[in-house]
């Protein structure tokens, strides 16, 4: 009988837990060191991006002009948009960004005054407003709480659903193992955002929620296999052996399915990065990390916790 169990995965369960613990510790350290960069939608404030173009060919902006214009822009912005504004100019792509951090919405009259004053001070430069974002403190706070709550709700619903579904192989053992592995997936995808310095916004939260729904599939595949083997072998085989056998059986399926999704995400990252659409690439980062992690957590963490809990309760 024992020859059937090709892998002896459960004899190394402490190593898996150590890996998971190391991942979380490293992630927490990265978070502490780099801090969380929240986008304007989640941290109140305003951001205006303008493009500029000199109207006469003789008006080429030199390096000294650039410093001058940044100072000029800052002065104009502070006069018209408020004291807590800061302007940064990117000469290469002919753009400048106005950021306001006073937690108030910049109204459109102020924007108009800013543009009017600019065109008076720099008549030979044409300005075009490319994008504008402004969010009040209450909305930003509410959106952040909603996003975190939504992750919590998905977390609870998915765990509950899987626990009910596999209650025959112990409701609580499945519940705890599913909870732990989902939590690790979530944390790793969150750490990946921090690591790559991606601004946290509602899109990122939505992507994490979406990928949570997809990453539990690996657990479903594993627990399906465990349930089948448990039914087939009954009490004649230990929990560790059932887990070993189930991991061996579902290993290829979990890898193939997750590879498909990871490849999709990688293709998106490559294409969007080539075209410079980094806003889309950024959305794929948590997906890739979450899927890689869920392959590990579902196969090794979820199964090892399930085995350990059942062995302890025996």
């Amino acid at each position: 009988m024992i020859n059937l169990f090709k892998g002896r995965f459960m004899s190394h369960r402490k190593i898996y837990w150590l890996i998971a613990l190391t991942l979380i510790t490293v992630g927490v350290i990265v978070c502490i060191l780099s801090g969380v960069d929240r986008s304007e939608t989640l941290s109140s404030g305003s951001k205006l991006i303008y493009s500029f173009e000199t109207l006469s060919p003789s008006d080429v902006v030199t390096e000294s002009d650039a410093i001058l214009s940044e100072a000029l822009l800052n002065e104009t912005a502070q006069n018209t948009l408020g004291d807590n504004t800061d302007v940064s100019v990117s000469q290469n792509d002919h753009r400048f960004t106005v950021v306001s951090l006073n937690h108030k919405v910049i109204n459109f009259n102020a924007i108009e005054s800013f543009e009017t004053e600019l065109s008076q001070k720099l008549p030979s430069v044409e300005f075009t407003l490319l994008s504008a974002q402004s969010h009040d403190e209450d909305s930003a706070k509410s959106l952040l709480i909603q996003c975190i709550s939504a992750i919590g709700i998905v977390f609870v619903l998915l765990t509950f659903y899987i626990s009910i579904k596999y209650k025959k192989i112990s409701f609580w053992a499945v519940c705890v193992s599913c909870m732990v592995s989902l939590l690790i997936d979530c944390l790793v995808s969150f750490f990946s955002i921090i690591f790559f310095n991606i601004p946290l916004d509602e899109n990122i939260f939505a992507v994490i929620i979406a990928v949570m729904g997809c990453s539990v599939n690996a657990e479903i595949t594993l627990f399906d296999s465990i349930r089948e083997n448990k039914k087939f072998f009954g009490e004649t085989v230990s929990y560790a052996d059932i887990a070993n056998m189930s991991i061996t059986e579902s290993f290829r399926r979990v890898i193939s399915t997750n590879v498909c999704m990871i490849v999709s995400a990688l293709i998106t990252v490559v294409i969007t990065a080539v075209y410079g659409a980094f806003n889309i690439s950024a959305l794929c980062v948590p997906i890739i990390f979450s899927l890689i992690t869920c392959t590990f957590t579902s196969l090794f963490i979820a199964s090892s916790i399930w085995v350990s809990l059942l062995e302890r309760s025996k």
């Binding site: 939608t41 991006i49 493009s51 919405v105 459109f108 009259n109 924007i111 075009t128 407003l129 490319l130 994008s131 504008a132 974002q133 402004s134 209450d138 909305s139 509410s142 959106l143 709480i145 909603q146 709550s149 939504a150 709700i153 998905v154 619903l157 998915l158 659903y161 579904k165 509602e202 899109n203 939505a206 992507v207 929620i209 979406a210 990928v211 729904g213 997809c214 539990v216 599939n217 479903i220 595949t221 399906d224 399926r253 399915t257 498909c260 999704m261 490849v263 999709s264 995400a265 293709i267 998106t268 294409i271 075209y275 410079g276 659409a277 806003n279 889309i280 959305l283 794929c284 997906i287």
Partner: protein, 473 residues
């Protein structure tokens, strides 16, 4: 050769799926003269969100935190919607959160048009547009002297429309008044024909003329702009403002996002390229890895993608079917759904492969593989659907079903609209349903059908080793 009495399901379904996919991707359009009519919406008819196509999203609330009754918020929502109808926009959406007294407005610029001045657009949307007629020429309605007299108000206006003079075809604006208004107008015309009447929209004097000129013989108001007439755009806007009525309370933006068309157009193309490359790579992978079953999986994946496009565009070009605005997170949703489709195909094919390797006859192995895998695929899709519902609930501030489902969880928080993520939830939810239809039901039919053909009865085509044929009997 085919066994007798077996219907060619594979070929029938493959033709249907490919036909449907062609229609969903390319659409169906007819041309009559200069006019092109869309019967079925294709990829070209996808509506993109403001971040992808350029446009704006603004949340308005009552100015200075004024307490407003919910029905007045609804009135303001309707008025803003009527105003937006005359703006040169590709698409727009207005919704209200009655409990929080918020109005959400989102709109996408028309293709190829220069983005409008956002400050001007917001001013146009949020202006009160309160119309009053004053006999006299004050500097503003608030600075009326004792000799100035209020004559008519917005409440007296019944209708407004753009018209042309019969002889010279000059464009003018005609305002119809209610009974009380008409009586007052006729009285003014007969009793004080030479008195100047000024017409005000908020603080702006929009017209000034003697009573005999402003009101015609049947008491209708007419605005002329000399011999050249009004421009069509100006006239349409003014008519929209007059006929929609004044906003019942003053509003101010508390949250906004604006993207100029010039800054957004690139990513739209990239997103489509991404979607097609992902689909192509996964189809190639499936065919290379699972051979014949991989071909079936690829057909199903193409059908599933077409289904998602059909759900996004609305497929049939009918007024009551609204397309869902696509966004960058929506493309990520598409990518995940295709990944989920691949997941279903892998599960089904692996199960079939397992059954084939066990030495079962091909027909039974395929039937058993499809049955066993169905449960896992349903579970996998259900979890994705749960995520989809939560995302849709999180993103929509209006009285949508998903928001209603999420209300018990978010009741203590004010609603914040984030429409860009709606398409992600939408695609995840409907993509999962399609995944089950295409990935399990239709794939099962097609693979089972293929096993009845001698040419396709080689076990190696289904991932099994080349064994001696097991005696079916």
């Amino acid at each position: 050769m085919k066994q007798r009495g077996v219907k060619p399901w594979f070929f029938m379904l493959a033709v249907l799926i490919i036909g449907f996919s062609v229609l969903a991707f390319l659409g169906l359009k007819g041309t009559a003269g200069d006019f092109t009519r869309t019967y079925i919406r294709g990829i070209d008819d996808i509506v993109w969100d403001t971040a992808s196509d350029g446009g704006f999203e603004i949340t308005f609330t009552a100015e200075d935190g004024e307490e407003v009754r919910p029905e007045r918020v609804r009135d303001a929502e309707n008025i803003i919607e009527k105003r937006l109808a005359v703006f040169d926009l590709k698409s727009y959406d207005v919704s209200a959160d009655l409990s929080e007294r918020k109005i959400f407005v989102s709109a996408v610029w028309r293709d190829g048009e220069k983005s409008a001045d956002i400050s001007e657009t917001v001013r146009d949307i949020s202006m009160s547009a309160n119309i009053i007629f004053i006999m006299g020429t004050p500097s503003s309605p608030d600075a009326m002297s004792d000799t100035d007299q209020f004559v008519l108000g917005g409440g007296n206006i019944n209708s407004a429309e753009v018209k042309y003079t019969d002889d010279t075809h000059i464009r003018y604006i005609e305002i119809g008044l209610n009974q009380a208004g008409t009586q007052a107008a006729l009285k003014l015309r007969s009793e004080s024909p030479d008195k100047l009447i000024t017409v005000w929209m908020d603080d702006e004097c929009i017209y000034c003329a003697p009573a005999s000129e402003l009101f015609n013989e049947v008491g209708v108001v007419r605005f002329f702009n000399g011999d050249q007439g009004y421009s069509l755009d100006f006239a349409k806007r003014r008519v929209a403002y007059i006929s929609a009525g004044a906003l019942p309370f003053d509003i101010e933006p508390i949250r906004y996002g604006y993207v100029a068309q010039s800054d957004s157009i690139v990513s739209k193309e990239i997103m489509l390229v991404c979607a097609f490359v992902i689909l192509a790579v996964i189809c190639i992978f499936m065919i290379a890895y699972y051979k014949l079953s991989g071909v079936v999986a690829a057909i199903s994946l193409i059908g599933q993608s077409a289904g998602i496009v059909a759900f996004i565009t609305g497929f049939l070009n009918m007024d009551f079917i609204d397309p869902v605005p696509m966004s960058a997170p929506g493309i990520v949703g598409f990518m995940l759904t295709i990944g989920m489709g691949a997941y279903s195909s892998v599960i089904v094919n692996e199960r079939i492969k397992d059954e084939v390797l066990k030495g079962k006859p091909l027909n039974s192995a395929v039937a058993a593989g499809c049955t066993i895998s169905a449960e896992s695929v349903i579970d996998g899709n259900l979890t994705a659907m749960i995520s989809g519902i939560i995302i849709m609930g999180l993103s929509s501030g209006k009285d949508a079903l998903c928001s209603w489902i999420m209300k018990p969880f978010f009741w203590m928080l004010p609603v914040v609209m984030s429409p860009s993520i709606y398409s992600l939830g939408y695609i995840l939810f409907f993509g999962s349903i399609l995944n089950f239809i295409f990935g399990v039901v239709l794939t099962g039919f097609m693979i089972k059908s293929l096993t009845y053909y001698e040419i396709f009865s080689d076990r190696s085509l289904y991932g099994g080793k080349i064994l001696k044929e097991v005696d079916v009997k």
